[in-house]
Amino acid sequence: MNLIGEKGVRRIFLATAFSALSALLLIALFIINEGVPFIVKYGIGDFLLASTWNPKEGQFGIFPMVVASIWVTLGAMLVGAPLGVAGAIFLSEFVPVTVMRIVKPMIELLAAIPSVVFGFIGVVVLAPLIRTYLGGPGLSLLAGCIILGIMILPTVISISIDSIQAVPRSYREGSLALGATTWQTVHMVTFRAAKSGIIASIILGMGRAIGETMAVIMVAGNAVKIPHSALDSVRSLTANIALEMSYATGLHRQALFATGVVLFVVIMILNSLAIMAMRKRVAKK
């Protein structure tokens, strides 16, 4: 390293520092380059809002998939967000720190379980239960929501705990000194102070849910139609890409990349919102 000198080392580090940013731009460039010409040619209205997806006939309307992705994501939030935030509050405010130190890594372990395994559990455990007790094919919107809701738990819990712990102790002490119970302190003081971080955790969870692919393919049934009930089989945007990518060519492949562009844009918006909420938290601290 003496050969390069201090300035040289600095330059190398500066160059590598742009690696992640360049990776992001490269990804954006190639996905857009492959997908946007198709959207322009086909018409963004026809692409997003038409309900017929029939690649053989040259019909590429992704509306049913858009609706499915929205429902699956909202459903997952309904399952995952309350459960996750409740868990985060309980672990950071109601149990001793030693318990939290053991349980938090365990919950983060849930994030390490491969998504195909979650999908598989959905197929062999959850879907038969839904089929038996609620009817329908089992592999359904509802199954997708529950599995995705579980999958986003670690994201929601872990980031919520961090932001709850970032609330200064003096806030809690002030509240407790006034005679408030732990719960009163949580919902009147701590929760409000940690709100932007908790919101960020939920938005990040949403990003995970909308982008999840393998688990949704396995449990949601994959029928291209607008769902009328939670027990209907649905196909998400991500599932559409992954199911047809292996054999798609020409216009069909471009349409799949265009689906990727839609997904990419939605994710970037969600990411930016989450990052903004996190920054607000840091600024407040």
Binding site: M1, A20, L21, P114, R208, G260, L270
Partner: protein, 278 residues
């Protein structure tokens, strides 16, 4: 009607505690369920034999090789890059617009879903750069995917090194690079290793990004230009195409054990790191 604070407190503990227990129960259920069904299938033969008849019979040896090779390549590339990025962000610069943009890029990259990485890897490495479905394409794609994980964890580890270490090093006349090399990085190492292990665990479990870049060949790869199949992809294909439920359970059990071991090792390293600090 106002409920007495003592009662709301009790209700809160019950509801919140119940939610936490439910989360833990789901985790335990998933792991126990897979291991209970899968472990009886996993034996030396299963791990060391080649797959036969699309995975209907035989073992999963070639997919274990694929599962080992892809993360090694990915970390080999993303590790040095990510660590260097983190060193630059923490030691070589102050907070400016440029670092804000770099951080934004890192955070966004972390949120990109794996299917997008798969699409990108397919169009860039497999098609445009003509690497085909290969270990190289898969490894490069995974490197892109785990880069933010490594940057973030390394940054945290470097920030945890006390300021006084640097001050002592500088006061002895060391240059910045000498300080980074001799004082900062050795002390941040366990944290960095933890990040790398989490990145490995993520690569092992990945399916969507791998299946479109590394392909799904069951043959034993002889070079990095050969296609390969990881355990995750193998499990997905076995389960989804209904090839063999028994072998699917076996593969899932092997996969879960691999991921859990890597994660436990990561937490163990981190724990020792923290214990040493305080």
């Amino acid at each position: 009607m106002r409920i007495h604070p003592r009662h709301t407190q009790r209700i809160a503990v019950t509801v919140l505690g119940g939610a936490t227990l439910l989360t833990l129960a789901v985790l335990v259920f998933i792991i126990v369920f897979i291991l209970e069904k899968g472990l009886p299938v996993v034996g030396p033969g299963f791990l060391l034999e080649y797959s036969e008849d699309m995975g209907r019979a035989g073992g999963i040896f070639t997919t274990i090789v694929g599962t080992l090779v892809l993360p090694v390549l990915a970390i080999g590339l993303a590790g040095p890059l990510g660590i260097a990025t983190a060193v630059f962000l923490t030691e070589y610069t102050v907070e400016t617009k440029v670092t804000k943009v770099i951080r934004f890029g890192t955070d966004c990259l972390a949120g990109i879903p794996s299917i997008i990485f798969g699409l990108f890897g397919f169009i860039f490495f497999v098609t445009t750069l003509e690497m085909g479905w290969s270990i190289l394409s898969g490894g490069l794609t995974l490197a892109f995917m785990v880069l933010p994980t490594i940057i973030r964890t390394t940054e945290e580890a470097i920030k945890a090194v006390p300021k006084s270490y640097r001050q002592v090093s500088f006061s002895l006349g060391a240059t910045r690079w000498q300080t980074v090399k001799r004082a900062v990085l050795p002390n941040a190492l366990p944290g960095i290793v933890t990040g790398i292990m989490l990145a490995i665990a993520r690569s092992i479990g990945e399916t969507a990004a791998v299946i479109f870049t590394a392909g799904s060949s069951l043959r034993l790869p002889t070079s990095i230009f050969d296609s390969t199949r990881t355990m995750s992809v193998h499990f997905y294909i076995l389960a989804r195409e209904g090839i063999s439920l028994e072998n699917a359970y076996g593969t899932a059990a092997a996969l879960i054990i691999a991921v859990l071991l890597v994660n436990l090792a990561a937490y163990w390293t981190m724990h020792r790191f923290i214990a040493k600090r305080s």
